[in-house]
């Protein structure tokens, strides 16, 4: 492969995750092999319980695999201890959650500043909020913002540290379609303009059309991987 070609940012080999749930042993991942490339936008698609969230949690440094390897560049995430995990999340990963998880006692600007204050090379909170189109709402508290606006603040907060990876877990799950399109547009723009590797989890197949690649999950395994020859823009999506 030519040197200018993108290198894998995540190399996943034989990844399994089992956990005890009450008295039942749940096999959430059963040997996943997958490479994720720098700068690409990947949608993980699958029904609930298919293992896509577990994979995202492991990639985000929130959970450890039971067996197998996950390499983030040169590092094996499976070997990270709690401190290393925290450092990894702090410096390399941006999270966007289904329920936004904004801090209610902080304004939009301050929610972003929360992250920029502990990051090593951040954007200004104002710049990152401008990117998501919220320059006019800097000093509003979460309760004063609509759901879509809150999710855009969450995206601004996630990308303000210039992460290598942006992980979005059902980012439009709590939004109506037209607001959801707005949010997806922002995610696509971040991916395009900052070159951030972006992984979006969804069970909404319509969203898959905006991805570079679509990974289908089922029963703890990768069922298939599709590559979109032509990506749609968010505005072209509908559901």
């Amino acid at each position: 492969m030519p040197s200018s070609a993108p290198s894998p940012i995540f190399e996943i080999r034989g990844l399994s995750k089992t956990y005890q749930m009450g008295e039942v042993l749940v096999e959430a991942l059963r040997g996943v092999d997958l490479d994720l490339w720098e700068g690409e936008l990947v949608v993980l698609l699958g029904p609930s319980g298919s293992g896509k969230s577990t994979l995202l949690n492991i990639l985000g440094g929130l959970d450890c695999p039971t067996s197998g390897q996950v390499h983030y560049r040169d590092h094996d995430l499976a070997l990270f201890d709690d401190t290393a995990m925290t450092r990894y999340r702090r410096e390399h990963v941006g999270f966007v959650f289904q329920f936004y998880n904004l801090i209610p006692s902080l304004t939009a600007r301050e929610n972003v500043a929360l992250v920029t204050e502990i990051a090593s090379d951040p954007m200004t909170p104002e710049a990152s909020l401008a990117m998501v189109g919220l320059s006019a709402r800097l000093d509003h508290f979460p309760t004063q913002l609509s759901g879509g606006e809150q999710q855009r603040v969450a995206i601004a907060r996630a990308v303000s540290k210039r992460p290598q990876v942006l992980l979005c877990d059902e980012p439009t799950g709590a939004l109506d379609a037209s607001t959801g399109v707005l949010v997806l547009d922002v995610i696509a723009r971040v991916n395009r303009e900052l070159g951030t590797t972006t992984i979006v989890i969804t069970h909404n197949a319509a969203i898959a059309a905006m991805a570079d690649r679509v990974v289908h999950f089922g029963d703890g395994r990768v069922v298939s991987v599709d590559t979109n020859a032509v990506k749609k823009t968010a505005a072209e999506l509908s559901w």
Binding site: D63, R89, R90, F99, T143, R157, A174
Partner: protein, 787 residues
């Protein structure tokens, strides 16, 4: 068990730490209430029974010498029930194995039978046999301090003549429940005791054969004490009567009454504090529980549970928490009450002190705690019961935050986002924050009230005996003596300094106010005895006029420059007016002070002294004491230094108990308040904190956000608590003000530091307890659920 009760127990089990912390606070409140009020009740009923069973007199009088025939006339006074005439004197005692000066009050017993009033409770042996001049009964504490047993022998100086006495019994008397040397501030059974001897032999020694110098009366039911006193005074005046007084002025009774009043004050103050804290904690914890269980309440109601059932369900959990506290509190109060009663029996001498927790006191305590719990939780529980299911199914409206005023005044740019979060949390729950600060402040103040007596007594002793009465020895003559006796003292070995004094009993009068006390006269410019003003600056004796203890001035409502009437109660008993030339500050007793020569003129006598204060050279004490022992005119010798050392030791021992108890109580409150708040903050912001962990915040950083709020409140509470504690100390001191002693509020810096440290350590421990849970936050779960 019903299913809903299973839920109750499991809910309680889940919040067991918090429930226990609250139960402990309730327990301390009940324990305090029971300790103070049961001790009060036990002491009061013991006092009443003792007074009744041993016929404690109601009116007392001393006089110079009256023939026994006067007894009949006194008995004929309307309203007088029984009359006991006695001989009572102060003597020097020589204990064989104890070189230091010892003195005693000797009170006569009838030759036959038991005294009609002020009976003795024999602890060992018997009363002196009729006609046995050498037999004596000693107060039990004195005998114990010197290990005297029936058969032990020791010498007393009776009217200047040495006499060897044989102990035949030890006893207690309702007249001497508190045994203190006149003019002393602390009981010291080794250096002061009470002795009882046959009337005839004691009378003969003091030329009081068929005569008496002391009188005790009991009254008919409904008789007027003032009326009897006036008639008794009229009868004894020609015989050198010093003025009769009622029981409320009897010294032992007064000390005991004062102590009981103090118990009653503390018995209201401390339990009220604990109950208030318990009410606050229940309010916070149950309020939080109801908020967290909105959906459960909705579900219960959807299935047909009524408002009342929901109400009862939550009240039950309050009742269980309170019930644990009540049971523990009764056990604790019983134990502490016994300890406190034991301390009282050290200082007071009762034949029996049956400590018991009366059902009445326990019931009051329980009702008070239930009332507090009800007040604390009613609103939250009521709200839960009346929640409409459809409303309850929806999540609670998210809290609305604002910028705090601290940020608005321009400090915002220096505040990190976590710091802003802390401030906004505090502001949003302003009332809870204020109550939290108050609760922690109470904990802090409580310690000061437990420790201030130690500092204060140390200060009182320092001022009274380090700055004012600085003698090594004080010598009292048997009778007022010519001034030249002073030179005999100067000539004794080791005596470096002699300051003679004249002391005389008087009645002060100003308008309708009067007080029975004494005047002391010193030579001006003395170095041993000094009078001080409120700022501890020496006050010079006026050439003319009188200085009064400021408290006495207040009792007589007299200002500097005004005149008071002084009625001398000795000798030829002149009554004259004198100008109040100034007020002096004293903590122990009250008195009038005059220049010695002026007092002699006032009494229309030549240069006369009653005794002297001595400063002596180191190491000269033993020889000096043995020389003084051989001086018949010396009625008593008191050594101050040793007395103070002993006192400090006793004080340290009993204060250790109070320090320990106050510290434990304070830790319970501080821990209860801080731990519960931390738990609730964790429950309220768990999701937020987990989100921050996901965003890359470390455990330390989120602990800072959670515990920083409590840390800040604790830091605010400490200075407030120190101020509050000081105020409570002043309040307690105010109730202890009397002519016997005034308690200044003195708090040493290390006491403040200790109080602050106890609260800080409690805060840190509470923080660590919650921090453990913080470390186990489930990061994944919190992201999945909606708020």
């Amino acid at each position: 068990m019903k299913a809903i009760d299973h839920k109750l127990w499991r809910d309680l089990w889940r919040m067991k730490g918090q429930a226990l912390a609250i139960a402990l606070v309730v327990m301390c409140g009940i324990g305090n209430y029971i300790m103070f009020l049961s001790t009060l009740e036990s002491l009061s009923s013991t006092q009443a029974a003792y007074y009744r069973d041993y016929r404690f007199a109601e009116v007392f009088a001393s006089l110079k010498r009256a023939p026994e025939s006067l007894r009949r006339r006194i008995a004929d006074i309307p309203g007088v029930d029984r009359v006991q005439t006695r001989v009572a004197v102060q003597v020097r005692v020589d204990m064989p194995d104890f070189p230091e000066p010892v003195s005693a009050a000797v009170v006569s017993l009838p030759e036959r039978g038991v005294p009609v009033l002020n009976g003795l409770h024999l602890r060992a042996g018997r009363l002196p046999a009729a006609g046995r001049a050498d037999e004596v009964v000693a107060s039990h504490s004195f005998a114990t301090a010197h290990r005297l047993r029936p058969g032990s022998r020791f010498d007393v100086i009776l009217n200047g003549r040495r006499q060897t006495l044989t102990l035949v019994g030890t006893a207690l008397s309702p007249e001497f429940i508190q045994q203190m040397r006149p003019g002393s501030v602390f009981p010291d059974s080794k250096r002061y005791g009470i002795l009882w001897m046959g009337r005839r032999s004691l009378g003969q020694a003091y030329n009081l054969h068929d005569a008496f110098n002391d009188l005790a009366l009991s009254l008919d039911r409904g008789a007027s004490v003032d009326d009897v006193i006036a008639r008794v005074d009229a009868l004894i005046r020609p015989y050198g009567g010093l003025g009769a007084y009622g029981r409320e002025h009897q010294i032992s009774h007064r000390f005991l009454s004062q102590e009981l009043a103090q118990l009653a004050t503390l018995g209201r103050l401390f339990p009220a504090m604990f109950m208030a804290v318990a009410a606050f904690l229940l309010n916070v914890v149950i309020g939080r529980q109801v908020a967290m269980q909105r959906e459960q309440i909705a579900t219960l109601k959807a299935f047909g549970y009524g408002n009342l059932q929901v109400l009862v369900h939550y009240l039950k959990s309050v009742a269980v928490i309170n019930g644990i506290g009540i049971v523990g509190g009764i056990v604790l109060g019983n134990w502490l009450g016994r300890e406190l009663a034991a301390i009282f029996t050290e200082f007071y001498h009762f034949p029996y002190l049956s400590f018991g927790v009366s059902p009445g006191v326990a019931l009051e305590a329980i009702l008070a705690s239930l009332l507090a719990a009800g007040l604390g939780t009613f609103f939250a529980v009521w709200r839960a019961a009346n929640l409409r299911p459809a409303v309850a199914m929806r999540p609670e409206t998210p809290p609305a935050y604002r910028e705090t005023w601290i940020e608005r005044i321009g400090t915002k740019r220096w505040l990190s986002q976590p710091a802003r979060m802390i401030l906004r949390h505090i502001q949003r729950r302003a009332l809870k924050s204020v109550l939290t600060v108050l609760g922690i402040a109470l904990a802090c103040g409580l310690i000061l009230t437990g420790l201030f007596q130690r500092d204060t007594v140390g200060y009182m002793v320092y001022v009274q005996f380090g700055l004012m009465q600085r003698e090594d020895l004080s010598v009292t003559f048997t009778d007022p003596t010519a001034y030249r006796a002073r030179f005999d003292l100067v000539g004794l070995p080791g005596v470096r300094h002699v300051e003679p004094y004249r002391a005389v009993p008087v009645r002060f009068r100003h308008g309708h106010l009067e007080y029975r006390g004494g005047i002391r006269g010193f030579e001006p410019g003395g170095d041993i005895q000094r009078l001080l003003d409120a700022d501890l600056r020496p006050v010079a004796l006026p050439g003319d006029g009188i200085l009064l203890t400021d408290f006495l001035g207040g009792m007589l409502d007299v200002r500097v420059g005004e005149r008071i009437v002084v009625e001398v109660l000795e000798g030829n008993r002149p009554t004259r007016e004198v100008v109040v030339a100034g007020l002096v500050n004293e903590f122990v007793g009250v008195s009038g002070y005059m220049e010695l020569a002026a007092l002699n003129r006032f009494l229309r006598e030549g240069p006369t002294i009653s005794g002297a204060y001595l400063g002596i050279a180191d190491g000269s004490l033993p020889e000096l004491l043995s020389r003084l022992r051989e001086t018949p005119r010396v009625a008593g010798v008191a050594e101050r230094r040793q007395e103070i050392r002993n006192f400090n030791r006793t004080m340290d021992e009993s204060m250790l108990f109070f320090t320990y108890v106050a510290t434990v109580f304070s830790v319970v409150i501080a821990f209860g308040v801080i731990y519960n708040n931390a738990q609730i903050s964790l429950a309220e912001s768990g999701r937020e904190l987990a989100s921050l962990r996901v965003l890359g915040f470390t455990r330390g950083e989120i602990a800072y956000i959670l515990l920083g709020e409590l840390g800040l409140l604790t830091l605010l509470a400490i200075p407030l608590g120190l101020g509050l504690g000081e105020w409570m100390c002043y309040d307690i001191a105010r109730t202890m003000q009397s002519d016997l002693y005034r308690v200044p509020v003195v708090l040493e810096p290390q006491t403040y530091a200790f109080a602050a440290a106890v609260v800080l350590v409690s805060a840190v421990l509470s923080g660590l307890a919650v921090r453990r849970r913080l470390d186990r936050l489930d990061l994944v779960a919190v992201l999945k659920a909606a708020e």
